[in-house]
Amino acid sequence: MSAINSNIPEGDVTTKWTKFKSSVALVNPSNKRTLEVIVVGSGLAGASAAATLAEMGYKVKCFCFQDSPRRAHSIAAQGGINAAKNYQNDGDSTYRLFYDTIKGGDYRSREANVYRLAEVSANIIDQCVAQGVPLAREYGGLLDNRSFGGTQVQRTFYAAGQTGQQLLLGAYSALERQIGMGKVEMFTRHEMLEVVKIDGKARGIIARNLITGELERHFGHAVVLGTGGYGNVFYLSTNAMGSNVTAAWKANKQGAFFANPCYTQIHPTCIPVSGDHQSKLTLMSESLRNDGRIWVPKKKDDTRKASEIPEDERDYYLERRYPAFGNLVPRDVASRAAKERCDAGYGVGSSKLAVYLDFKANTERYGRIEASKAGNHHPDKETCMRLGLAVIKEKYGNLFDMYAQITGENPYETPMRIYPAVHYTMGGLWVDYNLMTTVPGLYCAGEANFSDHGANRLGASALMQGLADGYFVLPYTIGQYLSKEISVKAIPTDHPAFAEAEARAKGILDHFINIKGTKSVDHFHKKLGLIMWEKCGMARNAEGLKSAIAEIQQLKKDFWSDVRVPGSADEYNPELEKAGRVADFIELGELMCMDALNREESCGGHFREEHQTEEGEALRDDENFAYVAAWENKGDGTFELHKEELKFENIKIAQRSYK
């Protein structure tokens, strides 16, 4: 085990970033024109980084596996984006956003990074509005805010239930503008399969043209991965079908440490699983918890319809257990509380693995306000409900429609049934303050890195981090590295390192085609997902994790000897793409279990059953585990643990309480 250097600048946390920006080495415009940067991924982090780097004058190549950069999964984010603007005059500040994020992450993130994130959050909103992103507004024409979990201020900006879509289309527009000007070369339907290293530095990638199957070599003075999270290791998650860990995993194999892989976020409000056929799960935005109250019946195995259960026989368990934050506790807390009730036999619906999210009380409240605005100060209940439904529809219409479409039930009439589902991964490639991995010249931004959310991410902070990294952080920090690369001429791609990397990628593809086994890729993926969900999901214990590791090792053997990939490697072949991704998920799954086993404490989304308070809350062990676990891939399924000690100089580390 050895220590790793996070390269945090000296000085007070409030001035580190300003000082860094003023003293970082610069690259002059004529040198920028000859420096090439590869950006893999076109989500919020990738698209904003690619566009900004090109605006600054660098030569940029951007890659995505979808048919257009606008499809990246950031588009599906619903609820909002946080920023410390204090537009609501409710006492928000950079420090408070910083504090909430550190606390929400259960004191397992790096102070300096989080402070910087809070600092640039306000710039993101300014930038997006300037781009024409239509964020929600009040009647006075100013921007509106709403509440999200884990905070007591309203700092979340939004665009109905389509915030991610609108922010991504903003970044996509900026990217397309640079593509139109010839400053970014865009490669759609391309998947990165290898990192190319020359003399220890990242110097390019091998990408597969998914239409022709051709392997391509691309040089870059630096490589940026903005390739998203690895939630699909669970097979069922709220991620898009194509979301994968392959780019990050290949980087790990080339020496980039993978940090805190066991930190996964299980989101409390998703539509429950309905059957074996299910291919993905759908989130119902956290913003619904602004106006929805979560409850289960007080009676066990109650089979009555929700509407038949009287008020005093309902258990609003979040309000009961956490009076200060109520329905707006952080996601990990809300998810575990739902699991606790269902495990105890109070779940609802046919599977009994669901709780109610009920809008009735707030619908009536809104209706009363609307009636009062219209001069009716004593409205009857029916009037309140009618007027209130219109308000609810304006706020959440698209989410309610989506719910009705998927479940066949009308959420305006009956409460929604919800259950936790895998949603986000806080772990990712280890990066220093500059967002550089342990491979020089290889950077990682957005959900793909581990940096800002500790053991639990607060709602509306993923969009904030993706855009902070891409617009405001990486374009500065990468200059530090590139300023020393100005004398390096573009390396021709007939260099042996490119040939070797291409051969590695080709070997794996050919192997899959040649196995000609009996079971589809999905068969193995579903099996992996089940192991992960049951043994490395919302609750974990040593025994379960050990057996999960053994099961995954067996699954890996079976996969590599019995998977059936139809067609060939030199054509458009989605099954072949999936095979490569699932192979990497299997290896990552094993590492996640190892990491979860190593972390003998509970923190945020990582809940070890052996480590809990009497009230069933997560029990941290700050003396022994206040560190980032960064795993070095030593080949053949072996990993070496490196630790980055976390120092809390500005926030007093404490037991997290939302009571």
Partner: protein, 256 residues
Amino acid sequence: MSTGNMNLTLKVWRQKNTQDKGKMVDYKVADISPDMSFLEMFDVLNEDLITKGDDPIVFDHDCREGICGMCSMFINGRPHGPKDAVTTCQLHMRSFKDGDTIVVEPWRAKAFPVIKDLTVDRSAFDRVIAAGGFISVNTGNAQDANNLPIPKSQADAAFEAAACIGCGACVATCKNASAMLFVSAKISQLALLPQGQPERYKRVQNMVAQMDAEGFGNCTNTGACEAECPKGISLENIARMNRDYYSAKFISEEEG
């Protein structure tokens, strides 16, 4: 493995690559659950084809929650199938009956060549956006967001236009394969906002020129695009685009 009891006949377009002529092929699927999405029904069929040693059907899809715009099937003569205001991934099998025959084709338009089976190339949309679907503001140049109040009605109208997911259903359903609804949605979003004014007339000319260059057809006011749009993008956007386009002609002539 499926859990339902619907048995269906599918007639699906199979085409090996862009050069191949392509043809309709019949498939049977059994035990389909009404709770499955249309794409999950295709997953069942593909699993079956793989097990039998056949080539699975290639189709575009990603988020499966109706927002990425990637899925694109022409089902029984309608883009995204029989239900209004949903994408194919959000279409569920309860919209069909046991024993139905369902015809599934790719988007068909000159500007969207078929890549394989049900997958088409929609990169023409990206090139139209690259021609002007943006506000030219580099990172770091923005003023405080609340320095520019925008009336709520105007912001809401811009948002409605911005809800377009770029799926191409409008092109697929149009007898002229026109992209006017898509192009006008972006033009409207930016034309409705104060930030979009400086480039308003240059934008409409550049985007329309690129749209024409890509081989999309013209608009003959049929309105099929609006009827089939999964996000309810309004025809009013096309009217606004046309107004701006003709205004731009006069303005540039005066300026020229």
